[in-house]
Structures are given as structure tokens and as C-alpha cells.
Subunit: 761 residues, 2 copies
């Protein structure tokens, strides 16, 4: 855990440049706008520790799979999030000395991410080897108003000298992925040009043939007036285009570079028109200018914050934490493009690759349901419907047939790209989350028609998978599910993971119910679906049999569900028994030791109780929480939020608050010592759930919003907004009062602490 | 399965060159002499499918580990068997056309491995593009009389022309491993020279700095007289040295190249004296000449066959099979060098890497016990004693301490070099085999003193490991062993594998007994051992507790031991239920499907029953065999031999014979479709056991040899020899008679069909 960032309600602030923290800050201060994103790398060259990263949504590279030991069924490649061409670069040389913060004396370094308007600022004074001292201030943003525009204002003021200087302003597609499996470069040059004031490079990904055109124009002002150049050279190298400007810096006079970048993807443009389109975007950007662009961008952010801000009074660390989570989620996924999804690192790093994990359905969907228009969440569901055929093919590779669908563990385009047998082949509970998301969406929105339109196809495929994957144990006289990995990945290849068995039979029942409903309400469509899926009602006979005779491991004596068969054979220790030097166990212990220990990476049985909370009485929840939580090391970022919610139900206020801080400040305080790889974007939605579903006690029952809120002792009050069925409501909760306001839409009855309340505007 | 090789009692014969079978034949026709080995590659260049392979015992390269997903505790590198410099090369050009069997018309191709004298011959007639036709006959061997010498007689006769020809005779260290993880070359040049009639290259392995000096001299005769050369050029390239001879070929006149190679390793020579030593070996070889070298070599083979031949009358395929197995084992490991061990592919391929697996103790030891001087088997045990410290370090990496030892899954120098968590960390039964081998050796030889000298140290280390690895289950009120992979690798991370639990408690008891015995018979040594190992007798309290309260899964109803907890939850199918297109399942099914199926890769419970046969009555053996065998796919080469032995006990003669053919002709008939990678050397020892322990019914009880032989219906008779406690006895078994002859040593009482028989010379 590191606590080098200043607490502030709206800003993330770093003071002083500590090179050891630079990669962490590069992640935390990342910018994005749903279309593209950029780590907080320096504009100028930096020879210290850095992970340069620029990303364009939906653009990926299928990197040839690297494994030690091949298993049948492994995919041929891993779809990597691509490090895209660099559009921020401004290389500065003063009297033949490169401005490089790793090689200067740096003073007054300050990096600020203003979350309110999505603006990254950086300022410092640097003394070069020969004593020349400059002050630099840079500001940049990725426009939320125009997703293809990035803009930079970069100012240099010589403090104690006048001298010749060179500015290289460029775009560069000669970039690499740090996590490339075979040290390959993923980009090839298609086109480049450089003219005075302008440079454009179109690069193409190998194998996938995505084109990305990155262009830039710039203006250089001295003291507010167009600067005089000694000379401008065009610089063209492989995959690289720029201008090299020779000019004079004058002591005390501020030189400002406005750099406007246009980043276009062939996902949105015809390949042969991209350069022209790029020119157009550049013209638009330069015409508007930095300030107007920033204003338009800020307006979008103001609107976003109106929709989804959560305020917390009396606890700045908690306030900063939740806003940081909301900020990152908002810049990662806007929901406008149904081809996109929410990668685990968003636009803040390249690690893990793929864009879509079960995180989307299990953690992110509720956030978008609560904070955005209905179509945003709907697009996330449709995304999976589009991939249904691929999921059926994926199941086929594992020996399933007749339309059984297994959604991939990690994907970009619907194809599985993960390659660890115990995860790829066995962590099949992901299929359940995808089914549950359909239910969750309909429960929240009331959009029953979704079932007939898209939902049922997916449910049939998933139910067929469960039906084939579950086998009959003559020994137990029950159905069993062998060889799985549950949400707790610190167990592999276990039998009868309670969570997986539970969500599997739930899916079967929900599919049966949904079939009946669609048949009733959309008879024709039902017939079409049955035909298209070659579905016969007889299939449900086995499903019903499974539902009625499924084995769920339990410990009757303790009154708890067992994470899997044989769990009680373990030595039941508590996390508090571990020596500090053993933690985190995933960095300290060998894998076999982790597997045979009782320690839990992330909520597993508790995850199931969270999803199906209405099935369990409070004592059952308590027994399970009290049994499992002490064994849980929370080494997955997805774990604490579930614990906030259940602890809240149980009145464990102090525990709930601790888990909340852990989830909300996970990256700000680098809890798991891995933020340098990128931020944990998907778990940020869990933080939002912690407040709304945890402290706020929000649930939806029979189409009605319920709240059972409480206020953590550390807070004076907190508030959040919800979009719900064409209303916007705002809830403000303090220790002695709950204020509910209908901000827009028709009157709505909600339930507060068990009592109905009618909200009117 | 392929049956392209001719059946013959003493020879392996291939007629006609089928390029699809070439890599298989390269494996099958391999030569070796314990010091080095060579696949049956062609001397001349070949542009068709080939796996060129030359190997020098003990010389390896630590190839950087390649994994998809790193786990704590993985080794940094995998010790690869190295493809060593090529010493066989003779490149032939006739009228500027290269002799390359992939590009000629080839007639009368015949490849013969004469196992009686260890000679590989090859002959063919080749027609070049321009119609020139030559006859070639080559013979070669790796001298068993002088381990550093290889010799080739290569004859060319122009059948329809006279022409200018070029002979390049060379040594070449610019070789690669096909299985290199990062396409790296493993050799660097240290020294090279070429002079008329001679070339020498010393190459050094990267990282490990082994030196191998490969030298050659040659003589070229035409019609028995020194051939006249137009010109001889020296050829020196990187890591390559040779002579290029220009000469005339005359129609109908035989030109013969005698090439003598010396292959020296820094394991046996000071690095700075290797070139001189190489010169000396070359001088010795050329002085003696091909025929005399071959004679000396043949004599050693005659002696070896005297020691270990098994004859089978009436079944040439079976006879050829067992001789092929014995031949390969004999050329792989001679037992003279205690630093060496028996790699899974011997000198026939590079796959798998490492030189030592549990195969050595579980399968190979009995062969060397029965067929070689006592010191050979003893050296195999001492090899593990030398690695004890490394095994303790290895266990330490997995969190064990206080002298607990875990021997590696795969090793060259005692360090683990495997990297699959479910194998490396969990297939810990290997430790049991290493303990059992000590017992097996002493049981056979009566060399009790071995315990005090070396055995006890190893037993203490292994018992400490079991003691720490086994945990208490309060739920079962028993000790349990969680998270293991048994011999049946088609189950991973299971709890309470019956075999592993059984061999673990057996080890604890054997260690307790051995401690008591050494204390009694070697009091001083006992004290020293206890001190050196920091051993306290109190440690055995827990060991005894574990022995008395260990959990062994059983099915009382069926009267069988259960392979692991939960085995009965599986769908209990039979291999005969599988569709042909599903087999072999390891090539057709995804890993999860294999894991949750009941199908067994190799004997697991039956392996335990085989080792501890005396504990079980025949009905128990039968029930377990009848239960497990039908589920066993034998996709490990180590499986069928155990089944021969148990089937023999049960009187399942026909099944025993089928399993015997499968194990003995595994590579000759390419049963598992993988012989092209190399032969299955270690399982060949299992073939020997099949005959001696299976059909011959040999066991050792209380220091006495017992035989309960029978003769398969397909055989008239069979015979084998055994070295046993300074005697050599020969057993000849036919349907109606068993002949036992004491060939050397003092009188010996044995037990035949339960009755004592006194053998005298």
C-alpha cells in the first residue's frame, strides 16, 4: 500500500516526481473518452521507468499463444489490447540537451488529474546539465465531445537563459507491446506524410488489418503571438512523421505549443478515406482551438457528473475514491458503440488483453444500469448475443454439441483467447453471469421484450451447456458438476463448486420460465426462436430433473454452504493467522500451497449469496459470511465490494467501511502492488455497487426500488443518483435522514426501510 | 499403429524409403553406447523430413522457461537434452548434383539395425536428375568398446557413369534443438581446425559451459586402394570444419570412405586438453581401422547379450520386440558413470528434456538389478543421494522446511526443471518411488549396508516431506493428502489419491524400520546420520500417527480401492464405449473433458497393487483389476507393463499377451503415433519386467527368488537370465517344463511354483 497521492474531493494530485511511482501515476492519471485512451506518459522523452501506452477502442492484435505445455482446445492466439501510435510526443532539445526528466534536476513537480473536467495537468521546473532552467506546464485531454480528438497545451518558459532550441512534434506508430509474446511488432506502416505544421501516419495491425490514422497539427506561440522559427524540417522515418522546429527561446518568455491530434480507426471509417477524414478532424480541432475544445469537453463531463456523481460528506479519502472510480469507468465505456466492452484495464494499461471478461456482467452492468440510459446496459447484453455463434463454436471445441454455448473467459471478438486449462476450460461459472445479467437487466428496467428479442437465444445456449456439463452420480444419486474452477480462483478443478452449481440450476430455471413467458407473450417470436435454435421443449425435461436433483455441498452442522466437495478436509485457518511475510499469498506461496489452503482469493459462496440474496434468511447469510470472510485474502480486486454489500446487510458497519476503502482506493493507494500495469477498471463498478447496494441498501423487487440505507460512522452524509425506468432519482442519506428526490420522470413508488414512499417531482 | 518394419529375431529391417516414416525410423534405428548416441539420420544431406539428432551424455542446456502464466515456484529454466555436433556428415556431389534422397529416384532402399552387434546398415541405388545412378552402402556404429568413437564405412559405386565428384567430410557444431523455447542456438564455437584428412571443432554450450570436442579423420579407398584426389580444400565456417575432396568416380568401381569420429566431453576431460585428447582418440581409431573397431564393439555386444538376452521361441514379433527393448536400454545406460541417468528418450530424441524422471526408479531399476552387476543399480540410487540437498531446496521453494525433500519431476542436475503446476508441484508420488527403489534394491541384493551408507539420509528427507504435506482433516478425523496428481496424469489436483497416500505411509513405515535397523546394526553411523540430518526420534511420533490414521478412499460395496476422493461421482464408462474417433483421447479431447472422465492414462491404483502385491489377496487384486483396467486407455507407455504383470497373476493369459505386445512393440509399431520424437526408453524396462515378473512370475521374498511362470499360448518357450546376489541363473520356460540353470556362483535355493529348488552348477 502506498499513500503518496494527496486527498482532494475532485482532483488526484501528485507532488514531487518519485521515479519509483511514475508507472503507478501513469496508470492512475490516465485519460480516455470511450474511443481512445492514453496513459499519463510525459509528452517529452523520458528515459526513466515508464510504460508508454495509447489505446484505440476495439483495435487488437491476435498474438500467437505462448504456453509451456499445449492442451487440446487452447486457442491459437491471445487477442492483445494494442499499444497504439503515440500522438502526445513533443521532443525538446535546448542547446543540444534533451529535456528528459530522468536526467534533469526537477523541482516543483506537480501532476494533477482534474476529474471534474477530465483534464490532466503537469508542471515542473527542470534544470539541465549546463544549469539552464525551464518551467514547463502541460495540459491535455481526450475530448469527450469529439472522441477522435486529443489536445495538448505545452508551455516552456526559460527561467535563466535564452538559447537555440529544437521542438520535435510528431506522431509515431513504431510502438511495441510490453506483453508481446514473441517480441514482435504489431504495426505496419500504410501511409505517412509530413508538411509544415502537420504530420499523419496510417498504420495497420498485422493479421487483423485494423487501420489507425493518427494525425497532428500544431501552433507555437511565444507570449501569445505566433513564434518565429529559424527553420522547420520534415521528419519521416518508418511509421513516424513529424516536424522538427528550430527556434529561439527567450529568457522569461513563455513558448506554448498547442498540439491537436486526430485518432481515427477503421472500425469507424472506410480505410481509403481515413487520411481525408483525419485532415477534416484536424481542421475542426485547430479551428476551434484548445480552449473551445476544452470547454466542450468540460461540458460533457459536467453532464456525466450530473448523471452519476456520488457525493460523500465528511470523508475526503472516500469521496476522492468513489469519484476516481466513476471517472475511470466513464472514460472507459460510454455505451455508444455496441461492438465495445469494458476491458479489465480499460485504457490504462495493456495487461491481460482481451476486452471482455465476466466482470462486465457481474460487476459493471449494475453501474451502467444505474447511471446511464437503458441502451447502454442493453448494448452490453447485445454484445454477447452477437457472440452467441462463437460461444457455440467454443463449446464445440470442448466436446459439447447441439447448440450448447460456452462464452469465453477472455475475448475481443467472441473467440476465446485465454489459455490456462483450469481457467479457460473450467471457470465456466462465467456462463452463469451472462445469463444472470439478462435477468438483472430486465429486473431493473422492466424491458421484458428483451427476452424475446435477444435474451432467449442466449439462455437456451447456456442452459444446453449446463445440461451437458452436469453429470449424474450414481454414487450420490444426485447430479454433479465435476472439474470446475469457481470465482475463487485459488481452487482449481474442484467438484461441485457451490456457486457454479447454484448459478447453473438457476439458469436452467430462468430459461424454463423465460421460455414460458415468451411463448405466452410473443407466440410467433417463440416459434421462430425455437426453430432457429432447433429447440424442442422436451429438452427441458432433463433441465427440470437437474434442478430437482442437483447436489449442493453443505455443512449442516455449521449451517453453511460448502465452497466445493471436500472443503472441510482443509485446515480451516484465518487470514489473521498468516504471517505478514506470507502476504499476498499469490506473490509468496507456490500454487499447490495456495490450492490446498483454505484461503479464498475472492468471494465465492458469498458471491452466490449476493446474487441470490432473496433466497436466504439473514442468519444463513451471517453464518456463511462469518465462516468465509475470515478466510478471504481479497487478492482479487473483485472481492471487497461483495463484502461491503453483505457486511452492510448484516450490520457489520465497520467491516463494510473498511472493505469500501479497500475497493474504492485500490488503485489510488496501490493496495495490490500492481497499479503500474494499469487500473482495475471493472472492479471500480463494484465500488459503485458498494455505495448504492451496500450502504444504500438498494435492491429491486417486483419492479420496485427498495432502499435500506445506513451511513458509515466516518461520514456525515452521502448521496447518489439513479436512472430507473425513465426517472432520475437522487438519494441523500445522512445519519438521521434520508432525502429522496425525483429529478425527472413520472411519479414513482419506492420502498424505504420497508415502507412505501411515493416520489413526485 | 504402423507395421512397416519386417519381423526378424535379431534385426530391425526397413525396405523401401517412405519419407513419411523416415523420422520414425530415425528414432527406431538409433545407435548409442551410454556415452553418446545418434539418430539414424543419413550421412549425406537430406532435404526431406528429418529430425537430426546427436547426443552426448550429461551435456545439457538450461533453456529459459516458457510458460503462458507464471506460477510462484516455477524453475527459471528447463534443462534440455542437447542436440550435439554432427559427426556423421558426408556430403556428396556428383557432377554438381547433390546426392539427396529427397531429390533422387531411390531403389532397393534397405535400412537394417543388427541388434546382435549394434550395427546400422543402409543401402540403396539412387538415380540423379541427369540419370547417373549410384549404389551406396553405409554402415556405422557407436563403439561400445570405446565410448568416444563413432565409425562409418560409406561406399559409393557409380553404376552407369564416370564423373567428377566432391566429397565433403565434416564435423558441424552449428546445430539447433527443435524444441528450443526461444529459437536460440545453444552452442558457441571455442576452437576449430581442418587439415588434410582431419577436422576438429570444440563447441561450448551457453550458460552451462560444457565443452564438446568433435573430431574426425577419414580414409578414402577406391577398389581397396587409396583413392587419388584432384584436390583437397579445407573448409572452415562458424562452428564447422571439414575437408572438401575433388576426385573422379569410375563406373563400376567402389569408392569407400572410412570416417572415424571422436566425441569428447568436458565431463570426462580437462577443457584445455580436449583437442589433444581428441587427436589421440582419432589416432587410435584410424590405427585400428573400421574392421578391428567393429570387432571389439561386437564383442562387447556379445557379452551384453550373454547377460541380458531374453529368447522367445515361436513368436518372432515378440522376440524382436523384447530384443529391441533390451538393445535400446543397453545402449542408453551402462551404469558406469554415476552422474548419468536414463532419459525418457535416451539418445533417440530431444523431447521432454531432462535426464531423470521417476521412471528410473519405478521401471528401470528392476531391469538393471536383474541384468547387470549390482553397482549399476546402486549407482542409480547414489545419483539421488547426490541430489538430496537440491531436493531439500526444491521442497523449500514450495514452503516445506526442516530437511523435507521433494525430488524433482524432471531433472539433469538435481534441480527441478519442469513447469506445469499440476505436475511439478503436485505429482509428488515420485518421492515415494525413490524411497521404494531403496527398498527394492536392498530386497533384491541383500545389500543392507546401503541403508547406513546412503539410503537413510534420503528416506528421512522424503518422510519429512510426507509428514509436512499430509494434513489433518477434522471433518474426516483422518489424515489426508490434498491437491495431488497421481501416476494417472488424467486427474489433476485431486484429494487423497490412493496410490500416493499408500506409498507415503509405506515410506514413513519403511523409514521408521530402517532407522531402527541402522541404529541396531550401525550404531555410530546412526548417530552421525541423525546429527547430519538434525534428526530427532520424536519426529517419528507424528509419522506413526499418520500411518495409523491415514485416510484411504475405498468402495466397500465393490471391494475396490478408489483412485481418489470422489472417483465414484464420475460416469463409469469403459474404454470399449469410446468411439474410435475419440482415441487417443489426449489428442482428441480437451483437457477438462479428460479430467472429468473416468478414463485412466496409466495404472494408478494398479501401480500401487503391483508395488505392494504381497499385501493383497488375489480376489482384491482381481476386483481392482476388473474395475480399473476397462477404464484405462494406456496412453502412457508406462501403463501396459504393469497390466501384463497383474494379468499374469490373475491368470488372464490372453490379456497379458496383448499388453505384452503393446509394450514390447510400442515403438516398432508406433502404437502412440509419436515414435518420430524418439523411442520410449524408460518404458522398455517395463517390457523386460513384463516377461520376467509377468510371465516368469518372478518376485523376491525374504531374500529368495520366487517364480510362478506360465507360457503364453502363442509361444513355444522363452528364457531369461538373472544376475542375483553374485549368481547368474538362467530360466527356460516352456509349456510343460521349467528349466533352471545356475550359470555361475554358489548354490542357490529358489522357489518354483511355491516349492523350494536348490540350484547348483
Amino acid at each position: 500500500m502506498k499513500e503518496y497521492l494527496k486527498h482532494h474531493e475532485w482532483q488526484i494530485i501528485e507532488e514531487g516526481l518519485d521515479p519509483h511511482y511514475n508507472k503507478i501515476s501513469e496508470s492512475v492519471f490516465s485519460l480516455g473518452n470511450g474511443h481512445m485512451g492514453q496513459r499519463a506518459n510525459f509528452e517529452e522523452d523520458y528515459s526513466g521507468e515508464t510504460l508508454r501506452g495509447s489505446y484505440v477502442a476495439g483495435v487488437y492484435y491476435p498474438d500467437k499463444t505462448r504456453v509451456g505445455w499445449w492442451k487440446n482446445g487452447y486457442p491459437e492466439y491471445f487477442a492483445k489490447v494494442l499499444n497504439a501510435p503515440n500522438w502526445i510526443g513533443i521532443r525538446i532539445t535546448i542547446d543540444n540537451q534533451k529535456l528528459d526528466l530522468a536526467k534533469c534536476k526537477v523541482e516543483d513537480f506537480r501532476r494533477v488529474l482534474d476529474m471534474k473536467i477530465g483534464l490532466l495537468s503537469r508542471s515542473f521546473a527542470a534544470t539541465l546539465a549546463d544549469g539552464k532552467k525551464v518551467r514547463v506546464e502541460s495540459k491535455r485531454f481526450c475530448s469527450m465531445a469529439h472522441g477522435e480528438i486529443g489536445a495538448i497545451r505545452y508551455s516552456i518558459t526559460p527561467l535563466n537563459f535564452s538559447a537555440k532550441a529544437t521542438l520535435s512534434i510528431y506522431v509515431d506508430a513504431d510502438v511495441v507491446n510490453k506483453d508481446s509474446n514473441y517480441d514482435e511488432k504489431f504495426w505496419e506502416e500504410v501511409y505517412k506524410e509530413a508538411a509544415e505544421g502537420k504530420a499523419i501516419v496510417t498504420a495497420q495491425t498485422k493479421k487483423t488489418f485494423f487501420h489507425v490514422t493518427t494525425g497532428m497539427k500544431y501552433v507555437v506561440l511565444e507570449e501569445g503571438k505566433k513564434a518565429a522559427f529559424d527553420r522547420v524540417n520534415m521528419e519521416l522515418r518508418e511509421k513516424y512523421a513529424g516536424n522538427v522546429i528550430q527556434l529561439d527561446l527567450h529568457e522569461g518568455k513563455e513558448m506554448v505549443v498547442y498540439k491537436y491530434a486526430a485518432i481515427l480507426s477503421s472500425e469507424n471509417h472506410a480505410k481509403d478515406k481515413m487520411v481525408a477524414a483525419c485532415e477534416q478532424v484536424l481542421t475542426e480541432a485547430t479551428t476551434k482551438g484548445f480552449d473551445a475544445l476544452l470547454e466542450a469537453h468540460s461540458k460533457v463531463w459536467a453532464h456525466k457528473w450530473d448523471e452519476c456523481d456520488i457525493t460523500i460528506e465528511g470523508d475526503i479519502a472516500a469521496q476522492q475514491g468513489i469519484r476516481f472510480n466513476i471517472f475511470q469507468l466513464t472514460q472507459t465505456y460510454t455505451g455508444e458503440d455496441e461492438r465495445l466492452n469494458i476491458g479489465p484495464k480499460g485504457f490504462t494499461g495493456e495487461k491481460y488483453g482481451g476486452s471482455t471478461y465476466w466482470d462486465t456482467e457481474a460487476y459493471c452492468l449494475p453501474f451502467y444500469l444505474g447511471t446511464a440510459e437503458q441502451k447502454v446496459a442493453r448494448n452490453l447484453l447485445v454484445y454477447r448475443h452477437k457472440h452467441l455463434q462463437r460461444a457455440i463454436e467454443n463449446a464445440g471445441k470442448l466436446g459439447f454439441n447441439k447448440g450448447a454455448a460456452l462464452y469465453p473467459m477472455v475475448t475481443m471478438n467472441g473467440e476465446e483467447c485465454h489459455n490456462e486449462w483450469e481457467i479457460t476450460f473450467e471457470e465456466i461459472h462465467r456462463n452463469g453471469a451472462i445469463a444472470f445479467a439478462i435477468y438483472d437487466y430486465i429486473r431493473y428496467t422492466g424491458d421484458d421484450a428483451y427476452l424475446a428479442e435477444y435474451g432467449l437465444d442466449v439462455l437456451i445456449g447456456i442452459s444446453r451447456f449446463w445440461s451437458q456439463r452436469i453429470t449424474w452420480s450414481s454414487d450420490k444419486n444426485k447430479f454433479v458438476m465435476l472439474g470446475v474452477t469457481g470465482p475463487n480462483e485459488y481452487e482449481n478443478n474442484v467438484n461441485n463448486n457451490w456457486y457454479t452449481n447454484t448459478i447453473a440450476t438457476w439458469t436452467l430455471q430462468y430459461t424454463i420460465d423465460s421460455l414460458a413467458q415468451v411463448k405466452k407473450t410473443h407466440g410467433e417470436r417463440y416459434t421462430a426462436i425455437a426453430k432457429a435454435n432447433n429447440f424442442d421443449e422436451g429438452e427441458t425435461t432433463r433441465w427440470k430433473e437437474i434442478i430437482s436433483k442437483m447436489h449442493y455441498p453443505v455443512d449442516e452442522r455449521r449451517g453453511v454452504f460448502l465452497q466445493q466437495d471436500g472443503f472441510l478436509d482443509k485446515e480451516l485457518l484465518r487470514v489473521s493467522d498468516l504471517r505478514p511475510e506470507d502476504r499476498p499469498i499469490n506473490q509468496k506461496w507456490s500454487w499447490d500451497r495456495i490450492l490446498r489452503s483454505c484461503f479464498i482469493k475472492q468471494a465465492d459462496v458469498l458471491q452466490g449469496i449476493f446474487l441470490f440474496e432473496e433466497r436466504y434468511d439473514i442468519e444463513t447469510i451471517r453464518k456463511n459470511f462469518d465462516f468465509y470472510e475470515p478466510m478471504t485474502v481479497h487478492e482479487s480486486s473483485l472481492s471487497p465490494c461483495v463484502h461491503v454489500i453483505l457486511a452492510s446487510r448484516l450490520g457489520y458497519k465497520e467491516r463494510a467501511y473498511e472493505f469500501y476503502l479497500r475497493t474504492s482506493r485500490l488503485d489510488l493507494d496501490d493496495y495490490n502492488n500492481d497499479t503500474e500495469d494499469g487500473c482495475h477498471i471493472t472492479s471500480m463498478a463494484g465500488t459503485w455497487m458498494s455505495v448504492v447496494k451496500g450502504f444504500g441498501g438498494m435492491t429491486v423487487k417486483d419492479g420496485m426500488l427498495h432502499f435500506n440505507p445506513f451511513t458509515p460512522d466516518q461520514w456525515k452524509s452521502y448521496s447518489f443518483r439513479l436512472e430507473f425506468r425513465e426517472r432520475v432519482i437522487k438519494i441523500k442519506i445522512s445519519k438521521d435522514n434520508v432525502e429522496t428526490i425525483l429529478e425527472s420522470g413520472a411519479p414513482l413508488e419506492i420502498c424505504l426501510h420497508g415502507k412505501p414512499v411515493m416520489l413526485k417531482r
